[in-house]
């Protein structure tokens, strides 16, 4: 009986211990897709980054720029130019396709990217119309005391004809003495990003540590008085100090990109997060914005 029991145990052991095996994932349906990225506004030429992704499990696990693609830029569906590649400089790892076109708000821009061995990729976005910024002011900027130490407000008029999305970024910038290589004290202008908090309610809010994202749901077509607070950067070391607050009027694609990107970054990733892409047959984001900068002298 003992022998039968031992034999049974051995059989079960063999069955169970040999029943697990890894297999490699075959990347079904991904094809050779390009990554096309551009964040453009109506103040600067459109710059497009075209790169190559790498598959999960690949030993070549780094992003590479693609310098020999044909990148066509269309304005309101008319070919505007074929954008030339500009190699990377010492500060950047990627070269980019820098156009001669300074886009205008209200017009749609399309980028079509063709490169042998890859699927043709295209994306379109439109720079939103500027938001009417009525007034803005800094209410306080202190280095001590309870609560937030920076506070400002802005009043703007939302466009009633469209659903609008906004992004707010803020920086503290100023001259700061630094020690040069020969021991001299040299003044240097330095920016530091500070995170804005909205103290009155806005909808569809996304916060990312650097920016505040929201929509006009709840004040569509109305004047919005938005109060913002900041945790300040200590101004003592600055010889002069400015607060820069940017109101970005952004496209829906721009909003979705940052919303999903933030979710990807902050979630515990139990459920997968799909980062928004408006690139057809490719990856990345070709998204537009209009920027209005408010500059306040603090010190």
């Amino acid at each position: 009986m003992k022998q039968i029991g031992a034999a049974l145990l051995l059989i079960i052991l063999l069955f169970i211990s040999s029943c697990e095996k890894d297999f490699n994932i075959n990347p079904q349906g991904t094809g050779n897709q390009l990554v096309v990225n551009s964040l453009f506004n109506d103040g600067t030429p459109i710059t497009v980054y075209v790169t190559k992704p790498y598959p999960v499990g690949s030993s070549n696990n780094y992003i590479t720029a693609i310098p020999d693609a044909r990148v066509e830029l269309y304005e309101n569906n008319l070919l505007k130019e074929i954008i030339a590649y500009v190699p990377s400089d010492t500060q950047a790892l990627f070269g980019s396709y820098i156009s001669n076109t300074i886009p205008q708000f209200g017009k749609s821009y399309t980028v079509k990217t063709v490169r042998a061995g890859y699927t043709n990729a295209s994306a379109t976005d439109t720079i939103p119309l500027p938001t009417q910024l009525i007034t803005s002011a800094v209410e306080k900027y202190t280095t001590s005391g309870p609560g937030p130490r920076g506070k400002m407000y802005m009043v703007f008029k939302d466009d009633p004809n469209t659903q609008n999305y906004y992004r707010i970024n803020a920086w503290i910038g100023g001259w700061i003495p630094t020690i040069g290589t020969n021991g001299d004290t040299i003044p240097k202008f330095q920016f530091t990003a500070i995170e804005p908090y909205a103290t009155n309610e806005v909808s569809d809010t996304v916060r990312d540590g650097d920016f505040l994202l929201f929509s006009d749901r709840g004040f569509n077509g109305q004047e919005k008085n938005l109060e913002l607070t900041f945790n300040t950067v200590n101004p003592h070391s600055y010889t002069s100090l400015y607060l820069y607050t940017e109101l970005h009027t952004i496209s829906k694609a721009h909003y979705e990109y940052f919303r999903t990107l933030n979710l990807y970054r902050t979630s515990n990733s139990n459920e997968p997060v799909f980062i928004f892409s408006n690139v057809n047959n490719g990856m990345g984001a070709f998204v537009a914005e209009h920027i209005q900068t408010m500059t306040f002298t603090i010190k």
């Binding site: 049974l8 145990l9 079960i12 052991l13 211990s17 040999s18 029943c19 095996k21 890894d22 297999f23 490699n24 994932i25 079904q28 349906g29 991904t30 990554v35 990225n37 964040l39 710059t47 980054y49 790169t51 992704p53 598959p55 999960v56 499990g57 696990n61 992003i63 990377s88 400089d89 500060q91 950047a92 790892l93 990627f94 980019s96 970024n169 910038g173 920016f191 990003a193 650097d210 940017e246 979705e256 990107l261 979710l263 990807y264 970054r265 902050t266 979630s267 515990n268 990733s269 139990n270 459920e271 997968p272 997060v273 799909f274 980062i275 928004f276 892409s277 990856m283 990345g284 984001a285």
Partner: protein
């Protein structure tokens, strides 16, 4: 191995009308026993008779009563055809093998009996009724390790699974390998894939009506079975001298943990750990029935199952990698328990030949409890310093339903039956009850406790229905009706009106065409994850934020009985679904950050459509069937995968189920079953792009004078929601059954081989990001 004493024989029969349609609820009375029974919905009955001559009387409204004399010397199956005129009914004695294959009737209902699942190869020694169901077209198992069954592209929660009329929420043991239905205890199982009679109202998909064995009226008898990892015992028979009270008791236990414990211990030891994996389950089926007189009968039914899984892994290191004399202890453990409790008390009363009524009170609950513990200790022996990092998470989910139900049936003549009824049910849900406890630090430890976001909800459901089953002529059969429901939760009412119609037309004998349309609704959701299938599944109620799911089902088909006992059928279906729910992108399953309703998206759309072909030989020494399904199943949520339609996790394009049985002689029976299905759809990271970097630091870099973005993190690009199809699911199983009789004991040896050609099948994922899936036999 099974054995039972036998001084009685079973008489199974079917009562047919002149046109061979079954007669439902006809009286069958045995004078020698002073008792009898009623035929069921497919006209069948079963009696235990003493050997010798028996007088059996049949009566049915509109038909001439008839008494036959039958000499019983073995188990016997008869068909009795009743006549509306004064002719004598015809009695046909047929071979028992006729009951070996599922019965597909002209209305689209599939009926499976005990013989059907006993003839399939047994997995883990269990002749599982659900395995037999999965051999039918359009019905799939998820795969091994996935709970529930999937009917025509629906999810497991969309199947209403009833035990004697009471719903059971989770029908799976051992991660779906074995269902909770003990083959010994089940008498019959009706599957409604698309006909949806109006009396069923609370699910969006199929109905599976499991009828438990009521016990024979003659003598106590039973079976016992001993397997390597499961054993079971079944007893049934009368409890009193009058044989008016009967019982049926089935007990089953699984002790696979006795083997997995030492095996896993051995494997852990080889990998440098200590620990073990254990798994046990048990279930109980008990049915008591008392026949007061020819018109009144009471039945009490009880079912429960408990599953218990535990996992422990520990590492202990003395004098570890540091220069200190350090002792490290790292322990991870998990224990999961789940259980169903189902009970019902039914009073059946027959007013006269035309009217009868069933009244029932029923209770069903499902409990799920998970405890996870992690303990990391560093003890510095010389300095006596200690670092500890301890966490324990306990989470519980619970769903309960208590119902009062009354059904009436009126049969004005032999060609028409009206059914009507009402039900009032209360439901209680508790999802995410539990807490996270943390204890961490050096030398002195302070524990903190964070409660989970528990969601407790009570709801009230009331339903009425009306159903008419009519045969206007020999060629037509119509079942139509409606189901009205009102669901109240959190002060909000949801009203539904669900029309149902199923029409069959037989232009020639043995051939019929069928078309049906059904309005559907269900007031609870099964919240499932993208990763593991059962451990994170939660039953949750419909709320204002996640309204009841609704849908429509359209289907049609043909069925033909051929010579030589062959039959074939072909069906098409389309089902639309609304108000589906799903976890949000990025949702956390633990409920430690927010309650379930904060983590789901509702208003999802779904559609499933496909074609089914089926051919079977139902009678003879060689019987078998082949079922093929070609199907699509998609889902759409506004905020998932950019609002695109995506394949449902169990979107199985091709599904084949084939079985073959060969009765070699009266002792030996051979069986084979082969199942093939396209692989499940999952969400996988397939590549990495620099989407994030190029934009995330754009502003910052510009302001700092950089001319272009810097390289930073690189997010994964997924396959799209459920965009990756796993390898196919398939296995061939063989069985050898040997029967012999020694004195009064009948012995049955069943040897089955599962997955003969050793095909690897994917287990559910525990994590998705960056991990390769695992496979197992």
């Amino acid at each position: 191995m099974a054995a039972f004493s036998q001084s009685t024989f079973k008489l199974k029969g079917k009562l047919l009308a002149e046109d061979f349609n079954p007669l439902y609820s006809a009286n069958v009375y045995v004078a020698q026993l002073s008792s009898g029974t009623l035929t069921d919905s497919v006209g069948e009955f079963e009696l235990n008779l003493k050997p010798g001559l028996n007088q059996i009387a049949f009566s049915y409204v509109g038909y001439r009563p008839r008494t036959i004399s039958l000499f019983i010397s073995r188990d016997t199956v008869i068909e009795v055809q009743m006549k509306t005129d004064l002719q004598i009914g015809e009695v046909v004695v047929i071979d028992k093998a006729k009951l070996r294959s599922a019965d597909h009737d002209e209305s689209g209902t599939i009926t499976l009996r005990k013989e059907n699942f006993l003839s399939l190869p047994a997995l883990l020694g269990e002749n599982d009724p659900m395995r037999a169901v999965q051999m039918q077209p359009g019905i799939q198992s998820g795969n091994e390790g996935a709970s529930g069954i999937f009917v025509r592209g629906g999810s497991p929660d969309q199947n209403l699974i009833l035990i004697d009329g009471t719903p059971v929420f989770n029908p799976s043991h051992i991660y779906g390998f074995v269902s909770v239905f003990n083959g010994d205890a089940v008498d019959k199982l009706d599957v409604y894939k698309d006909t949806y009679p109006a009396r069923f109202g609370s699910r969006l998909g199929s109905v599976m009506d499991v009828e438990m064995d009521p016990g024979n009226t003659n003598k106590i008898q039973g079976t016992a079975s001993i397997g390597i990892i499961t054993s079971r015992v079944h007893l049934d028979g009368p409890l009193d001298k009058n044989h008016s009270t009967t019982f049926s008791l089935s007990l089953r236990g699984c002790y696979v943990g006795l083997f997995t414990g030492p095996i896993s211990e051995h494997q852990y030891k080889a990998a440098g750990y200590s620990g073990l994996i254990s798994y046990y389950f048990d279930d109980v089926n008990l049915k008591l029935a008392h026949q007061f007189n020819a018109k009144d009968r009471i039945e009490w039914n009880f079912f429960s199952n408990s599953d218990w899984y535990a996992f422990t892994r520990q590492t202990s290191v003395d004098n570890g990698s540091t220069t200190n004399d350090i002792k490290v202890n790292d322990l991870t453990s998990q224990r999961i328990d789940w259980s169903n409790y189902v009970s019902s008390l039914t009073w059946k009363h027959q007013f006269n030949d035309r009217w009868q009524m069933n009244n029932a009170i029923s209770y069903s609950d499902y409990n799920f409890l998970s405890n996870t513990q992690g303990n990391y200790d560093e003890i510095y022996i010389t300095s006596k310093n200690e670092y500890k990092d301890f966490s324990t998470t306990a989470l519980k989910s619970y769903v309960m339903q208590l119902s009062l139900k009354s059904d009436a049936e009126f049969r004005p003549d032999a060609l028409q039956t009206f059914r009507m009824g009402a039900e009032l049910g209360g439901m209680q849900f508790e999802t995410g009850k539990g807490q996270l406890s943390l204890l961490s630090g050096w030398n002195t430890f302070k524990s903190t406790t964070q409660p989970a976001y528990d969601k407790f909800v009570r709801a009230l459901q009331s339903d009425v229905y009306f159903e008419d089953n009519i045969r206007p002529s020999e060629k037509w059969l119509i079942n139509c009706g409606f189901h009205i429901g009102n669901y109240t939760v959190q002060g909000k009412n949801f009203f539904t009106f669900l029309p149902r119609a199923n029409i069959s037309f037989s232009p020639v004998k043995n051939f019929s065409m069928r078309a049906s349309v059904s309005g559907l609704s269900q007031n609870l959701h099964l919240l499932t994850t993208s990763s593991t299938d059962i451990l994170d599944d939660n039953w949750v109620p419909a709320l204002a934020a996640a309204p009841p799911e609704t849908g429509w089902n359209y289907s049609g088909g043909v069925i033909q009985k051929l010579p030589l006992n062959f039959e074939w059928s072909f069906d098409g279906f389309y089902r639309s679904m609304k108000n589906l729910i799903n976890y949000k992108e990025g949702a956390n399953y633990s409920f430690l950050h927010s309650s379930w309703d904060q983590q789901v998206v509702s208003g999802g759309l779904g559609q499933a459509y496909g074609l089914e072909a089926y051919i079977a030989r139902t009678f003879g020494r060689i019987t078998g069937s082949i079922a093929y399904t070609l199907a699509w199943s998609d889902r759409k949520f506004a905020s998932i995968d950019n609002g695109n339609w995506f394949p449902y996790k169990y979107d199985r394009r091709h599904d084949i189920a084939a079985q073959l049985n060969f009765l070699v002689n009266k002792h030996i029976e051979l069986g084979a079953a082969w199942v093939y299905g396209s692989g499940n759809m999952v969400t996988l990271p397939l590549q990495y792009s620099n989407t994030w970097n190029a934009l995330q630091y754009y502003d910052y870099n510009i302001h700092n004078g950089a001319s272009s973005p810097q390289v930073g993190e690189e997010p994964a690009v997924y396959s799209g929601k459920n965009g990756y199809r796993l390898p196919s699911y398939q296995h061939l199983d063989l069985s050898f059954i040997y029967k012999m009789k020694v004195k009064k004991l009948e012995h049955l040896f069943n040897v089955s081989i599962y997955n003969v050609y050793n095909h690897l099948m994917c287990l559910p994922f525990t994590q998705l990001t960056g991990l390769m899936p695992m496979a197992m036999v």
